[in-house]
Symmetry: C2
Subunit: 246 residues, 2 copies
DNA sequence: TGACACGAGATTGGATCCCAAATCTAGTCC
DNA sequence: GGACTAGATTTGGGATCCAATCTCGTGTCA
């Protein structure tokens, strides 16, 4: 199944969490257990889907009201998201969606270049033939796809899918975190990059997938690192991704 | 100065935070700003100093009472620590200090082997001669030292000091997290390893320091990775570090 | 007209009290 | 000795209240 994490169990892979449509508010008021987790998941989805953009302010009462919860679980959720790097906090000023400087984005990608090959190496021996088939299917759908948001979802599903054999929680959490905190900028880049360079992505994915199927750890790490590295370099070449330099 | 992080500003380096002696409780009741941050810092220090060990339970009312705070900021603090990987949560059961399996510990060290060289590379060009002198002084104190807990503090000060030129928040946060979540096991290992292998540590530190002073990024990364790798290998050879296998 | 000061409303941080549900503990009964 | 039940703890969450702070519109003055 998908890569899940206690710190950031991600739902976009399976679907963009359409179950809680922000109106069935009171239904879980007494559903003991995890209001704060639900609030966190709700906010996470908003941020990852770009409905909340970097710098956007998040008001506790607003969110609480929208989900039929009080401010208390919202505050807990914001603490969790802050530690995940998705929001920033300033005392008495509140929370806003985290922003990255270009340099921070670049270094975050360099972190990905070093960490994700490790996750892949941990995962590779444990992936089944079914997993391989599923990955190949996702890649086919990527090649058939033309929609921007759909691409982001599928690309994420592909890569996290290759890590799904890795069951090391600290590593999974960190990989997910890195993906989440850079999602907005990836979208902005893909939006202006257009389709013309898609063949590069697909070639890299194909090579990576082949190495995964062959269970060739060395090749897999090499292709993956190259894939992320190239993306970083192209990303940094487009400063327009950063609307307000600050 | 020291390596600081919004997600986990560390205080053990300068001193083990003796200012709030758990008795001047009410003094900050109205000191607007950061009760939750203070609670988090308090708990973090307890965990890092091993006064709270992996598996130990943390009761909200207990901590709140000890610091003259209500349960509310304690809950927020626990959420932060959970996202930092220092505590675990189970619904309706509460929080306990996080445990690592041996495999998780090993992979966490492998993460360090890949991430910390990056932090070092980012830091190296920005370290001043004063920083170099300070690092040399810390290393001298390490070689003069015989106390276990003092070694852990100094070793941490040395390594984080070499990263102190790196101002990339996401990277600093992650490095600090990795150090924090493995601190207990490092202590347990050093406790039984004794002094006999100290010369290895010191040789590695000396070589690393020399590369830092020469601003040789390649050598610095090489020595650092080797240093962490050797520690990992020795650590994994001592399963007794894990009291209850589970 | 533009810069600055000011004050009302909004928002956050936190305390306190309340309650339901789940968990832990201990004593009892078979 | 082991299973089961009842009471005490503890957590999850809500509601209300208050102080401190921030935001922002407005009014004043140069």
């Amino acid at each position: 199944m998908g890569l899940t994490t206690s710190a950031a169990d991600f739902t976009l892979v399976t679907s963009v969490n359409g179950t809680e449509s922000a109106s069935d508010a009171a239904t879980f008021a007494g559903a003991g257990g995890a209001a704060s987790a639900r609030v966190a998941s709700y906010l996470r989805d908003l941020i990852l889907s770009d409905e909340l953009k970097p710098g956007d302010r998040i008001r506790q009462e607003d969110i609480g009201g929208r989900l039929g919860a009080s401010r208390l679980p919202v505050r807990e959720a914001l603490r969790m998201l802050e530690a995940e790097g998705l929001t920033e906090h300033e005392p008495n000023k509140g929370a806003r969606v985290a922003r990255l400087t270009m340099h921070e984005l670049e270094v975050t990608y360099r972190m990905r270049e070093r960490l994700e090959p490790l996750a892949l190496t941990e995962s590779l021996p444990l992936l089944s033939h079914d997993d391989h088939a599923q990955l190949a299917d996702v890649q086919r759908r990527i090649e058939d796809n033309t929609d921007l948001d759909r691409f982001l979802e599928l690309d994420r599903e592909f890569h996290l899918g290759t890590y799904s054999g890795c069951h090391i929680d600290p590593l999974n959490a960190m990989v997910t975190r890195l993906w989440n905190s850079t999602q907005h900028y990836r979208r902005a880049y893909v939006a202006l990059g257009g389709q013309e360079r898609m063949w590069v992505v697909n070639s890299e994915h194909r090579l990576l997938l082949d190495a995964v199927v062959r269970r060739d750890v060395v090749d897999a790490e090499r292709f993956l690192e190259g894939h992320i590295r190239r993306t970083r370099i192209e990303l940094v070449r487009h400063p327009s991704v950063f609307p307000d330099v600050g």
